[in-house]
Assembly symmetry: C2
Homo-oligomer: 234 residues x 2
Amino acid sequence: MKIIDKKSHNVILMLNLSYTEENYLKSIYHLSKGGKLEVTTNAIADNLKTKAASVTDMMKKLASKNVVNYQKYKGVNVSEEGKKVALLVIRKHRLWEVFLVEKMKFNWDQVHEVAEQLEHIKSSLLIKRLDEFLGYPKYDPHGDPIPDENGEYKATPQIPINEINIGHEGIIVSVKDSSSPFLQYLDKIGAYIGAKIKVLDKVDFDGSNEIIIDNKRTISISKQVSENILISES
Amino acid sequence: MKIIDKKSHNVILMLNLSYTEENYLKSIYHLSKGGKLEVTTNAIADNLKTKAASVTDMMKKLASKNVVNYQKYKGVNVSEEGKKVALLVIRKHRLWEVFLVEKMKFNWDQVHEVAEQLEHIKSSLLIKRLDEFLGYPKYDPHGDPIPDENGEYKATPQIPINEINIGHEGIIVSVKDSSSPFLQYLDKIGAYIGAKIKVLDKVDFDGSNEIIIDNKRTISISKQVSENILISES
DNA sequence: TATTAGTTTTAGACATACCTAAAACTAAAC
DNA sequence: GTTTAGTTTTAGGTATGTCTAAAACTAATA
């Protein structure tokens, strides 16, 4: 269906994609790292827990709708139009995650399944109002950036704790050292991906940092540890 | 799938009904006035804008899942289990409508379409928290009662304005017609759920009613309009 | 009671999204 | 250049929910 936007007089393609088609686009967008890499059939099948043959069928359909660029045996990627769809779904997913954690008091590990459903609700007004209601958040509870209405977002700068200034806070998004002893140490102190960290104090002579985790647990971590925990500042 | 409820030790049938099946149950529940009347195939087809043949197919399927009582040519009704499903969907629909109006600043006439989608989100925790977040509302923005977790609600005696005697007054609790044009008309004349209405005069020859809204605005409404505004007399 | 109009069901198709199994293709090893 | 292992596509089939057209049934009228 082609409709004319009365304001811009541009031709807009009204894409009415199914829940399933939206999920495929989102998967391809993620696997291609935002459209940068070609994605294989098997990678999509693994990601969506389906079979390669089903993926091939869907690629033909999405190609016919011009939301992916697909050539037999040559892999697939999102088209410009498909990228917009994927980014809108991601925007909705992450806004709903913020809503669930901030307003519905969900834990960060309870939000994903429900957000997978909510991301397909079709109402541009709702998304606009939800964004406003939540105070135009830039990051979701996992520290991932929320695309704006135009699909634009800045990649999260990931900063080690030792580079965060006193009083600043953020979310643990990654670790540099993923050895077992280090991860066990993180577990012991109650640090995990998604945990909220605030830097309370920095000790000059040994480079250690005093931090509070999830506004609950105050702890001092060594310079070495603080260099290996990456934070997305908020 | 049968699971055992740890608290009650009762066997619970985990019904995983589709979006479509839920809509059929809701429709049958409404058309049967809460399970009181037998519902015909054509009535369901009209209500869901589908065809009688499709309804028959679905009735067989819902009967096999024990959520409706169905006998060929004899009409259909919700079973006890089906009634629970229908009431949960209605509860979710109405809670989301309150959310959209109170928190998302939607107008009355904008909520229905979106609530039709949101009512199928599967998360009992979300509904519990949403209910809490909204302050345990008893009525939706159209004045319809919201069933509690057990599916119970009290029906308010709702009387159309044309049946209210001269000099009597009450509160608008609901509307029969919830089409966009009608809701916009109500908005225009300053009528809303919760508004105080007093019937000042009734004109016999055309059935129109002269009313005063909130002791401020005196207006004449047609017979048609007065039949579609429901009042709780006080 | 027989007819008939309207309702409901059945039969057979279609689209979506999935599957398995076999065929086609790619790319790397020999 | 062949072989081969792995990937991808095709072919054909399944389940869901829809449809049209025809058959079956109900209930009201003659």
